[in-house]
Amino acid sequence: MNFELAEEYQMVRRMVRDFAEKEVAPRAEEIDATDTFPVDLLRRMGELGIIGLPFPEEYGGSGMDYMSLVIALEEIARVSGTMAIVLDAQTSLCGEPIYLYGTEEQKRKYLAPVARGEKIGAFGLTEPNAGSDAGATQTRAVRDGDEWVINGQKIYITNGSAADVVVITAKTDPDAGTRGISSFIIEKGTPGFQPGRDEVKMGLKGSLTSELFFEDCRIPAENLLGTENEGFKQFLRTLDAGRVAIAAMAVGLAQGAFEKALAYAKERHQFGRPIAKFQAIQWMLAESATDIEAARLMVHRAAWLREQGTRFTKEASMAKLLATEVSERVCWKAIQIHGGLGYVREAGVERMYRDQRLCAIGEGTNEIQRLVIARQLLRE
């Protein structure tokens, strides 16, 4: 039994923290205030190999593993939720399914530039009438000779309107429910593929959350990703990993907010002493530190299970459920400890509070996570 992170992971953490503090943190406030997509930072994360962490070198990756990505997501989220979700969409949601289900040619053509950050990637599942209920997907893909013809609409797609490569799900057998869904790779500029508007959001400002439209969009037959009609199974597996990634992001945001609160509690004097000397503040700090510790351990264990190649659906959902509720509590307390300053932009904790709110919704709402956990429990 060993709870210490392996040396390699510790070095990954130091390197990514160094990058995050030097290059991301100074930009975090501006990215939030101007709500502009930081494409240069995405490219930089590609150059440095952060996007490529879980992929082998022959596909533009860094030859590390998913655990390294989880650590990197924590560190990036610690200073900027926006950059963490951009990284998550690029790596976990777009790169991962291509890596898992793509042909050799698809991996070389699409995964490699996405892993290097040369191309922007996105994953399109949610639709106006399908989200948690993925079986209700209405986007259609119909085979026509050597091509697939795609018609439909996607919403809330992270990195969507800027994406060069999008993995989407579409119905290929409309009568077969979840067994009639397939995945496809679509390139920007394909006639009939048009990004729509970007949403104005509560948090994670600067990340793009876009509509995507497909109107008689013709793609070559070889752009089918994986096996026809197995898209549902495929993305369930993608989402297991994606949930761990979102959970890691929640841990990072909680950690960042907690560190700010801890520092402020020691600095801020009231009634002649630092507020950290008051039990009311101490309890909030103690609870937050305990919460973060528990969430991090669950996230790391879920990532570790994935590395072992064992099933980790339940643990991924548990980690996401706990970590995202922890980030809510910890960021709430961080604002509370800051008092009035916590509510203004300057302190940065209100940004983290807004940013973390998505974590309980994205990649399966926490209600869906409870459902998944219960289903696994009752099956066992």
């Binding site: 040396e7 390699e8 070095m11 990954v12 390197m15 990058f19 490529g52 860094s62 590390m64």
Partner: protein, 265 residues
Amino acid sequence: MHIVVCTKQTPDSAAKLAVDDAGHVSWGDSPIVINPWDEYAVEEALLLKDRIDGDVQVVVISMGPEEALEALKHAIAMGCDRAIRIWDEAFAGSDTLATSYVLARAIEKIGDVGMVLFGKSAIDSQTGQVAVAVARRLGFSPLTNVIKIAEIDGASMTAERLLEEGRQVVQAPLPAVVGTTKGINEPRYPSFMGIRKATRAEYPLWTAGDIGAAADKVGAAGSGVRWERIFAPPAREGSAEIVAADTVEESARILVDKLLAEKVI
């Protein structure tokens, strides 16, 4: 040709140092990292390797106990070719004189060395003496505060030194010892491939016997400096008073009176 980088492990710059009554220095649970100034030396060595034609190998060395591995691993993760740790219980208590002797012996053992690079000083002891002492012992050209290596070939180099008065351009024959300074480059992050290499690399240990070090020249015996007593400087005490009279002239008069009374002027 070998380019040797000398590194030291130090507490992180954010560490809070404490000294107890017995003179023992501690830094809490702060991590041990590569001396931040040494990252510039490592980076410059890697850049030089790309600039110089022929077979160049960057060897990073550190004199220190087990913790020195941290500095060596970081340097390997940045891209150095190999690392050697130099340590022997007999080296404990070495001052800059003894340290420079040990490093010089190790550099001689590496052989075919065209350049030795140092950070400007170590952030813990801040002496900045070792680079020059090593140059003296080896008979290499000593160049400190180097902000730019303008030209280099197999036989000589031209460098810019950053002085208080301005920049000085100097030419020196190789081999040389170069003390780098901040601004000479922007140290790279360790690469992930480098991190993988660093965690799997071998870190040979050279002891006093391996480098042929004489017992009376290392450790406390070989040191010129004795640590009589180590203590934290007393906390600064002071109070501030704002002189605020109705007019500027009146404020100035009160201020002058106070300064005279305190015998400041």
